[in-house]
Symmetry: C2
Subunit: 430 residues, 2 copies
């Protein structure tokens, strides 16, 4: 057997602990699969003395992760610190520049600086691996970039954030509203103290940007992703969705169109019968559609120490076996330069829910506004009666262009009989 690979591990949170545990507990199996031992020999984190619930005895300590990468005893760097800039970025750049392969779980870094990092990886001929950055332990990067490599992918979509999926699942099952369920999720450790990255859709957008780059063979373009989170989703709308045969999911969806790549993250109503509608709780799922393979769906745990470590260790085994793949699946000379297209041109059916004064003429005003912008209604539902008071009205449109819909909504929101900002949710076919 070739000599062992020495891993320098930067970041000793949950994921770092998982990597140490997996390489220790499954050392024999990893060695068999890798053809050599893979051993963490050095670590770096912010605070050396913190109690982490696992031992770092016998491992070389570095206060400075960049210095660790430069140490000649280190063969491969694993970066699980997180953050799109700062120490994580400095470390990854330093390692790639020094010709040391990097394995990262850092979706923000890869989404925001991935184009530059891929160029650096290509220039120095050094592997940048990031299976753990998307959908935890589900081998979605490998599946898209290698397993479906011969396909023209038209469309990739997924439930990419377990926190949001958990919150939406509990809201549906218990009929409770967002703030309350978020607070519970925070207590249970399913949501961060500062939940913005998750519930505002940014984390899902990082992952979608990466999936889109892999699927369509072009450099990552995070800034072009349309992003809307789940804060505005109410128990009321989840109830109406159920009545209409839908579930509400936060999806990331990227599509190759004639005009370019459209990538968006937002709450969607998906038919209850579609496979992705039934992926509940903290699970993630990714669906890709290829011209030869048809539709493939992958499902599993998208976060947590174990699943993330599983992906990191798979990347380390690939490195040990010299299995190399360009960051975006092809060398820079062969990447697509398809432009990104904006959300304005998006076309779908919309769910629109208003709170209106219950009196004659209100519906006429609302439907006139829709008509004025060419929005065609599929159905209208008014529930309950409260003469002079507030009642919900639900409208489902036929396929409509986003820009027209937004103009109509703006006009409707200004009607004095419309009491709250309208709730608008895009309907996504199965």
């Amino acid at each position: 057997m070739t000599r062992a690979i020495s891993v320098g591990l930067a970041g000793l949170g949950t994921v770092g602990g998982g990597v140490i545990e997996m390489l220790h507990k499954n050392a024999d199996l990893v060695a068999a699969r890798a053809g050599r031992n893979i051993v963490v020999t050095a670590v770096s984190a912010r605070n050396r003395r913190r109690d982490r619930g696992f031992s770092i005895d016998g491992l070389q300590w570095f206060d400075d992760a960049v210095a660790m990468a430069a140490d000649p005893s280190i063969d491969v760097v694993v970066e699980v610190m997180g953050g799109s800039d700062g120490p994580a970025r400095a470390l990854v750049e330093a390692a790639l520049t020094a010709g040391k392969p990097v394995v990262t779980a850092n979706k923000a870094l890869v989404a925001v600086h991935g184009a530059d990092l891929a160029a650096l990886s290509e220039k120095t001929g050094t592997t940048l691996a990031f299976e753990a950055a998307v959908a935890g332990g589900i081998p979605v990067i490998k599946s898209l970039r290698e397993g479906l490599a011969g396909n023209r992918i038209s469309h990739v979509a997924g439930i990419l954030n377990g926190t949001c999926n958990y919150i939406l699942t509990v809201m549906r099952e218990q009929g409770r509203d967002f703030p309350e369920v978020l607070a519970d999720a925070q207590k249970l450790g399913y949501a961060e103290a500062d939940p913005a990255f998750d519930v505002d859709g940014i984390d899902a957008a990082h992952k979608l940007a990466i999936l889109a780059a892999l699927s369509f063979g072009r450099p990552v373009a995070f800034e072009a992703v349309y992003i809307e989170g789940i804060r505005k989703i109410s128990a009321l709308d989840i109830g109406f969705a159920r009545e209409l045969g839908y579930r509400i999911k936060l999806l990331g969806i990227a599509r190759q169109t004639d005009a370019g790549v459209a990538a968006r993250v937002h709450p969607c109503m998906v038919p209850e019968s579609s496979p992705i509608a039934r992926v509940d709780g903290v699970f993630n799922a990714v669906v890709a559609e290829g011209d030869f393979v048809g539709r493939v769906m992958l499902e599993g745990r998208g976060a947590g120490a174990g699943p993330t470590a599983s992906a990191v260790v798979a990347d380390l085994i690939d490195i040990a076996r010299d299995r190399v793949t360009p960051v975006w699946g092809a060398g820079s000379g062969s990447l697509s330069n398809a432009p990104s297209v904006s959300m304005d041109g998006h076309v779908c059916a919309y769910y629109l829910r208003l709170m209106v004064v219950d009196r004659p003429g209100v519906i006429a005003d609302v439907t006139a506004a829709l008509r004025d912008f060419g929005v065609s209604m599929g159905s209208l539902l008014q529930r309950g009666r409260a003469p002079g008071g507030a009642v919900p009205v639900v409208i489902v449109t036929h396929e409509t262009q986003e820009s027209a819909m937004l103009s109509a909504i703006q006009k409707i929101a200004q009607l004095s009989t419309v009491l709250e900002p309208p709730a608008l949710i895009r309907i996504e076919p199965a």
Copy 2:
């Protein structure tokens, strides 16, 4: 770009045509992903003149596939002829011996002779790739062998035969019986003229044997797989399954136990709410459970020209990129020698359906037989009344050992009041 890879393609049926079409239609994309062009330059099949619906003009023809493999102009051999012996085996052995990488879609060959072929592949340092052999275009081999490589897999299961899943789906949806639905499936091209390989579970067992070998890191052991097909499944039992909250699926299931590896293919009742219960029609799905990653499920089209070509081309791209993985995930020195365990020791709950004479005392005889072999009943259901005539009786047992259950059944079948051979279906927890 490095020079093109010349592929010699043996077998010009549906799959062979798919491979030619994909390498032609997506040539630019394949070249970008592979880092070089991949071109079919020679073909071999039984009949040169047959009208195939695609052109083989300009390709070198070989009557003898082994001679094609020996031709110095050929870099890689693709074998899509099928059959566990005969020309397919001779070709693959000849190519590996000559140091030419082989891509095969042939599950029978890999399941039956895979241990020897892996040894040959290791000896000559030549790749034997077979992504297309299991679950069509779903990258399940890559996911298990590379994506989940650091996990100890406890259990792998799947819907591995689209023909059976299609037949069972139609039987359930239309309440029709097996022979009729099979005949329709044959007319539609979803079942072969000789359907035995599919409906008797042999094809699924080939695939399961391969999955088990990959999951548990040991040489393939097809002969140890317990096999039962779907011919005995009736519309009556599908109806009762529905009443009990189950669906009937033909599953392949392999489990690592303390005693060794248990691998079995048979119809199962699975809870309606389990993800695998909802995989319908010609779709395949594979679920694997790893100690770190948890449960991962992959779903997609398990057969057909497009999906199979997708897997073959992915293997070719791996070969072009020099991404090499030992056949069973690790070198022969690191493989497990866990024994195979027989079905006798299997423990599960059973669904037992009898046709009995509707008269007093019959149930007492049946339940006495169960008691005599220590089989504990969970529930008993008698439907309809036909004094002196035949009525169905359904029994669901508590967890029982297979050998005890079979002994009890044998005794029950001999009762003069039991009119037909008992129907026995194993219940599989979600």
